[in-house]
Each structure stands twice: as structure tokens, then as C-alpha cells.
Amino acid sequence: MADASVQPLIEVSVRRRPEKIHDIVVASVGGQGGILATRILATLFLNLGWQVKTSEVHGMAQRGGSVETHVRRGRVVYSPLVPRGEADALLALEQLEGLRYLPWIRPGGAVVCSSERIPPVTVTLGGQHYPEHVRETLEQRAGFLVWVDALGIAREAGNVRAANVALLGALSALMEAPAEAWHEAISAHLPAGARPVNLEAFRVARELTLARVGG
């Protein structure tokens, strides 16, 4: 699957390998599946025996707005919200949202970001500019960046809607949990019919990232 086309499906910029990932912020656009990704992470941590807390936002923000969810694990977890500047990892399903929630990661934190761009209405109709060089900015500020063509991976796996799970595949390469634990958590949240495509997207992203990071 790892082809040598002009735009690789996954690129990794490493300054420092993240040690442990406990607090994760998931940034997405309403409807992209950010909440589902958060719930899969929570189930994974739960199954691994951790205390887990998540925070979601429902309602009006889900109508195409910017959606921010949090998931935390630990022996004891108090706040369901990761304090700003303290997240170990940011999982961004869209470029601009990755940039928006960048201040949530701690110095040296990891960013796993989709290369997908969804211009908000303020850009498509409001005359504002979609930021350029998002990847470079993330690279400068994050200790570790995985830049993922999540749509491309999901499309190849069979459905663009699996992009969120593809990103989890990339994130999984930075964490110690075994692939089987991820499969179990992903399967717990998907109807049987959607599992093969999602697990394939997960596998491809995980393997490509591992190949670049070094397992």
C-alpha cells in the first residue's frame, strides 16, 4: 500500500518522540466523526484498564461548526477537559481545526493532522482567507507531526467516511496499545457492515506511520 506517488499518504516530522499519550484533544468539523473518534479512544483506554473521562459538545456546534472533544486517561482523572497547553496529543480531522486547537498541546506534544481542508463559511462566503502553510506551522510548534492523507487512505479502503479511523491508525503508531485492542475498540462503535472498511483504513495508516516512525 505504501506507494511512491507524488503525495505520500503519510508523512512524519519528528523532533522528539512523544513519551506517553494520556490527554488527547480531538478537533474536527461537525459531521466529520470527531465524536466517534473520541469514543473509540475512550473505549480503548477503558479496555486497557485505565480511568477515562471524555468531554463532548452537542447541539448547535454540530451543524458544520468547529467541534472540540477531549479524552483523558490516568490512574485518577479529575477534569473531563484537558487544560489548554497540557494535551499530549492533538488529533485533527481538518487542517484549519488542527491550527485552531494547536494551543491545547503541551510543548513537545504530538499532532496527528489530516491534510483535508474544509473551508468554513467565513472563507467560502465571508472573504476571509484559509490559512496557508498549516503543515509548516504545525511542524514548527509540535514536537512530533504525523501529516495524514486521511481521505486518500479512507477512499482506498473503500469509504471516505473512514477518514477519522484512518487518523486513529496513525495515532496508534505513537502509542503502546496493541493493534488488537484498537480493533476491539473500533469494532465496538461501528455496525458490523462498516467494520472491514474502517479496520482496513486503520491498518494502512498504522502501518505507514510505523514504517516512518519505527515500530
Binding site: 448547535m60 485552531r100 463559511v121
Partner: protein, 642 residues
């Protein structure tokens, strides 16, 4: 995605709302009702997945509570769930029900929304406990959401009072681990006639009111030893009284500090607080919403630092709290930005400030310590605890928008085209406020559109009504639009009401309602005919039009506003997010585009602006064909017939 409700003992990850439902199920609840509203909706949705409970969406919260009170009279354990502003709608039955004995335990779930993620205000419904003299419980996570719910039924039956469970967005929509167990067998229901207690005539209510006050006194005694309150010892001279999700923020920001956690938010345990206060040098009260505890604690004669009811304002009075805000506020008050936990004695400036405050009896805020921020500014200095500003500050915003294919879009296009004044209402369509329509001029609460329209007409004269419409969703109309429509007819208004009928309560995630045709369990249900209902209210001019048909909409709205009598236009199309509504995307033939920009006036996210031309986003387009009707040169086309 919906996980099956576990039936055996297990530890599971639940949202606060799911945990409330679980607690109610285990407590043996048999009747539950509510009206959807973020962040409360999943309580009823989850209960609808359990067997052996009557669960319903009611037309509104008042109706839901009245129904539940009836079930309580019969001895059933009952639950009613709503968002904070929903309890305003139900306040009428609630504030009299609290005079009456609850036979079956009754829990009133109020999900408050500090920070207004999806609400029009951030009222603090602990206040209703004080008004009604009923206990208020506030859980801090999902486990407490469940166990407090179970405790609430015992409390309700022991003290013969309804109990409020006040959740907030971060508890309702946070997930954490919950130990679940088995269901308690409900008692057999029985209705006993006791009209002297259940008929609130003045004579009976006068007899009941002293009992309510006695009950409150008994609850105050109970509060002192209530197992839902607890003292967590610590090693610092700073102490915190807190509860709800704010407790989590305090624990994370100051893990070494002693904490008095209030699970019973009302009435408060004054003696317990007094004893706790004596053990610490500075006592902070950290609460989300109003300075509710702060006022009660001060009234009990205990000096406490909070939002500045008496003395400096340490914590913000608006918005949500967070770990960062709590940490920054306390540090700012103590006059240090250092990361080490400051001992008060080590900072003479801070100590002096507190002494000044204490000795002045809170008459005036003290001057800030040298080099330290003024304590009163704490709420605006939250970023002192955050990393240097990221690029986020200049980024284009991403506000929520009407979905591609939303059936409200064409209506707002017409309203904007004719520059009509629009009184709006609560629902997805409030987004008609946003560009490019700028079409909502007022929005207050559920059902307000119609009353506001009549009021504008009465103040400005019937000519104004020729350029005025009220817009209201189908669910909102059934919730509280019917009576103002009758008001408009009865009081000789001549306004136009547009019912945006998408067949569901869309904003909260597509719940059924009386005009939708399905119930809380998604079973087919009797469907109220909106057209016939409007006619029965006395509106003679009722038109039903296809909400995707621009020409028909324009004609109907022009005719309706012109008529000098009340008129209703029902713009009908199912919400595009409902299963089976989406259609294949349209086509865009770029060589036909004359760059007129007409399509952009729809503000559809599927038509992205590329220079002066649209770029069709085929993933987003739902094939509603509204833009096709606007494209004169035929560059935007319906998909080819197979």
C-alpha cells in the same frame, strides 16, 4: 454506535445523561417524560432503550412535568428531564407541586449550560431549589450522576418532595466510568384519594405551605450529615467549597488542598461549612453559574471568597470554569504567578489584601498587591495560565451553518430577498441570523416568534405586518407556538407565521414530536396535522408549500404577508439529515457560468467560492436543487437521469 444497555453488574463508560437514565432505571422508575434540549436530551433517549418504563417526548416541559406528577400521585417513581430553560416552562406546575406530597419519588433533571454551548442564557437552576424549597443534587461525574439519581428517589420519598438533579454540559456530555447494577422492583402503583393534599385550593395550600417550610428545616438538618457531601482533607491553608464539575477543576488545580464537596447543593450544611472554614486560612467557594453557595455561606456568617458578593471577585461570574481559570484566579488573588503552590504567609501582599478585605467587612475591594494583578480582574486574566498565544487568534472562525440541503435555506433566501423583518425562534433555523441571510431580527425563547410579531404589529400598526413574518419550527410550534397563534387570531393581528416543517426536532438530534408521527421509542405514533391545527386556531389563510420550491415559496410568502388577516405558510420538507432524504449531487458546467454570483446568496456550504465562480463540493451536496432554480444560465444542473 448506540451501545446496548447492559443488564448485569458491570463497569461501563457512560455519559452523565446515560448514567442518570441508568440510575433511574435501577431505582425502579416506571414513568418518564421530557422535551429535547441540549444538554439534556440523552436522558430520555437512553431511558427509551430500557424495558418496563413508559418513556415519552411531551409537547413541552410543562406538559411533561404535569404528566409525571400524575404518575407520582399513583405511587410511580418518575423522572422528567429538560434543559435549564425548559424548567422555566415547567415552573408553574413545579412551584406548586412542591407544596404537595410526592407519593412516588419524583426527580426533575435540569441540565444547565454554563458557557451557552447551545443555549440562549446561562441561568443557574440551583436557584429553583431555593424558590421551591426542594433539594438540589449536583453530580460531578457520571458515577455520581447515577448514584445521586438513585439517592434522589430515596430522598424524594423520605421527605415527600420533588428533587432537582442539576447537571451541566460537562457532566451531561462527559463520559466516565460507572458501576451499574440491577433494577429495583417497582412498587405496585395505587392512587389514593386525598384531595386535601392534592387540590391546591387556597385553604389547602395555606395548610400545606407551613409543612413545606418544616420540610426545608428538616432537610437543613439532614444536609449536615448527608452522605452526598464530603470533606476531603488536605495539607494547605487554602480550602475550597465546591461541587459539580467545578470540583474536578479544583482537585486538578490544587490537589493538596482540603475540599468540602457539596453533592447536596441545596439546602447547604451551614454547620459543616463553618467547621470546615475554621480549619483553613482562606476559604474559596468555586461554583459554576451564580454565586449561589457564596451568598448562602455569607448569609450563614462565614467569610468566603468567590465571585465578589462581599469582597473581591476572585472567580468569573460568567461562562464556564476550567482548571486553568480556577488556578489562575486563585493565584492572581494570592498575588503570584509562580508555578509553585504559594503558601499564603509567604506573600505579604496577598495576606495584607485579605486582611484588609476581612477587616473592612467586604466594604471595598482591596488595592492589588504590588506587581500583582487586581483580584477583581481575575476573570479576564485566564490566559496567564496558558501558553503564548498560538496562531489561533487570527484564524477564520467556523460558525455552525445551515446544512447543505437544509429545507430552511430557501425560505431564508426569500425572506432576505424581500428584506422582511423576521421574528425568530429556537431551533436550527436560528442560524438564519448568520450571513448571507441576516434574516432573524429577534429570538428570545421557545414560541416567542409569534408573540413578538403580534407585539411589533400592535406597536407599529398593521402596515408593519405587511413586511413582517414570524418563523418557527414544527416541533417548536407544537411546544409553544399554538397559544400565541390563537392570540394573534383572537386579538385581530394580521401577521404571517411561517412554520418551518422539517418533520422532526432537528437541532437536538432528530427526536419525534406530536406532528412528526413517531414517538420516543421511534415507534409509529398518531400525527397531528399542522394545517388542520392552524385552521382550528382560527387562521383561514393556511398554505402548505414545498420548502425546496423557490417560486412557490416566494408566491406564498408574498400573498400571505399582503393579506390583512392572520396567515400561516407551512414550508414542508423533511430534514436532510434524516435517513433516505439525501439525493445524488448536482452537476456544475463551468463553461456556462456567467459569474453572476446568484447561487452564493444561498450560503450553501456545498458551493464554495472560487474567485467569482462556485466550486461544487460533491461530498457535501445533497441534490436539493434549490441552487439549480436560481442559476439562470443553467451552469448548475440536476443530475442526469439514469
Amino acid at each position: 454506535m448506540a451501545q446496548e444497555a447492559p443488564t448485569e453488574e458491570a463497569v461501563v463508560l457512560l455519559s452523565g445523561n446515560e448514567a442518570i437514565a441508568r440510575g433511574a432505571y435501577e431505582a425502579g422508575v416506571t414513568v418518564a417524560a421530557g422535551y429535547p434540549g441540549t444538554p439534556s436530551t440523552e436522558v430520555i433517549e437512553t431511558l427509551a432503550r430500557y424495558p418496563d418504563i413508559w418513556v415519552q417526548w411531551s409537547p413541552n416541559e410543562k406538559v411533561a412535568l404535569e404528566m409525571v406528577i400524575g404518575a407520582s400521585f399513583a405511587g410511580a417513581r418518575t423522572l422528567v428531564a429538560q434543559k435549564h430553560v425548559g424548567l422555566n416552562v415547567a415552573a408553574d406546575p413545579f412551584l406548586t407541586f412542591c407544596y404537595m406530597p410526592t407519593n412516588g419519588g419524583t426527580l426533575i433533571v435540569s441540565a444547565d449550560d454554563p458557557g451557552m454551548h447551545s443555549s440562549q442564557n446561562e441561568q443557574d437552576n440551583r436557584q429553583y431549589g431555593r424558590m421551591a424549597r426542594t433539594p438540589v443534587l449536583i453530580p460531578a461525574d457520571s458515577q455520581e450522576a447515577k448514584s445521586f439519581t438513585e439517592a434522589a428517589y430515596e430522598l424524594s420519598e423520605q421527605f415527600q418532595t420533588p428533587v432537582i438533579l442539576r447537571s451541566t454540559t460537562r457532566v451531561s456530555h462527559g463520559r466516565s466510568l460507572v458501576r451499574v447494577g440491577s433494577r429495583r422492583q417497582p412498587r405496585p402503583p395505587r392512587f389514593e384519594r386525598r384531595p386535601q393534599d392534592l387540590v391546591m385550593l387556597p385553604a389547602n395550600a395555606r395548610r400545606r405551605h407551613p409543612l413545606v417550610e418544616q420540610r426545608l428545616d428538616a432537610l437543613r438538618v439532614y444536609a449536615e450529615d448527608c452522605p452526598l457531601n464530603r470533606v476531603e482533607p488536605g495539607s494547605t491553608e487554602l480550602g475550597f467549597v465546591t461541587g459539580g464539575v467545578a470540583y474536578q477543576y479544583v482537585k486538578e488545580a490544587f490537589p493538596e488542598a482540603p475540599v468540602l464537596k457539596l453533592g447536596l447543593a441545596y439546602p447547604i450544611p451551614s454547620e459543616l461549612i463553618r467547621r470546615f472554614a475554621a480549619r483553613v486560612r482562606y476559604l474559596f467557594v468555586v461554583e459554576e453559574g451564580d454565586p449561589f453557595w457564596e451568598e448562602l455561606i455569607l448569609a450563614a456568617g462565614v467569610k468566603v471568597l468567590g465571585m465578589g458578593v462581599a469582597g473581591p471577585a476572585v472567580f468569573p461570574r460568567v461562562g464556564e470554569l476550567s482548571v486553568e481559570k480556577v488556578r489562575a484566579a486563585v493565584r492572581a488573588f494570592l498575588g503570584t504567578g509562580s508555578t509553585a503552590f504559594p503558601l499564603p504567609g509567604a506573600h505579604p501582599g496577598a495576606g495584607a489584601a485579605l486582611t484588609t478585605e476581612a477587616s473592612a467587612g467586604g466594604a471595598a475591594p482591596p488595592p492589588p498587591a504590588a506587581g500583582a494583578p487586581a483580584a477583581g480582574q481575575a476573570c479576564t486574566r485566564e490566559d496567564s495560565a496558558t501558553p503564548e498565544p498560538g496562531p489561533g487568534e487570527e484564524l477564520p472562525g467556523r460558525p455552525p451553518v445551515l446544512c447543505p440541503g437544509c429545507p430552511h435555506r430557501a425560505v431564508f433566501y426569500v425572506l432576505a430577498k424581500y428584506h422582511l423583518t423576521v421574528t425568530g425562534d429556537i431551533g436550527c433555523y436560528t442560524l438564519g441570523y448568520a450571513p448571507p441571510f441576516h434574516s432573524i431580527d429577534t429570538c428570545t425563547c421557545m414560541g416567542s416568534s409569534i408573540g413578538h410579531a403580534l407585539g411589533l404589529e400592535k406597536a407599529l400598526g398593521p402596515d408593519f405586518a405587511r413586511r413582517l413574518v414570524g418563523v418557527i419550527g414544527d416541533s417548536t410550534f407544537v411546544h409553544s407556538g399554538i397559544t400565541p397563534l390563537i392570540d394573534m387570531v383572537y386579538n385581530r393581528g394580521t401577521g404571517t407565521v411561517i412554520i418551518l416543517d422539517n418533520g422532526t426536532t432537528a437541532m437536538t438530534g432528530h427526536q419525534g414530536h406530536p406532528a412528526a408521527g413517531w414517538d420516543a421509542r421511534h415507534h409509529s405514533a398518531p400525527r397531528i396535522d399542522l394545517e388542520a391545527l392552524c385552521r382550528a386556531c382560527g387562521v383561514r389563510d393556511v398554505q402548505v408549500v414545498d420548502a425546496y420550491d423557490l417560486r412557490a415559496l416566494e408566491k406564498a410568502i408574498k400573498a400571505a404577508t399582503a393579506r390583512e388577516e392572520p396567515s400561516v405558510v407551512i414550508a414542508s420538507r423533511p430534514c436532510v439529515l434524516l435517513p433516505g432524504v439525501r439525493k445524488p449531487p448536482i452537476r456544475f458546467l463551468a463553461d456556462r457560468c456567467i459569474e453572476c454570483g446568484a447561487c452564493f446568496r444561498l450560503g450553501c456550504p456545498a458551493l464554495e467560492k472560487e474567485g467569482k465562480r462556485p466550486r461544487l463540493n460533491e461530498v457535501l451536496c445533497t441534490g436539493c436543487l434549490v441552487c439549480v432554480q436560481l442559476c439562470k444560465p443553467g451552469a448548475l444542473l440536476a443530475p442526469e437521469e439514469e
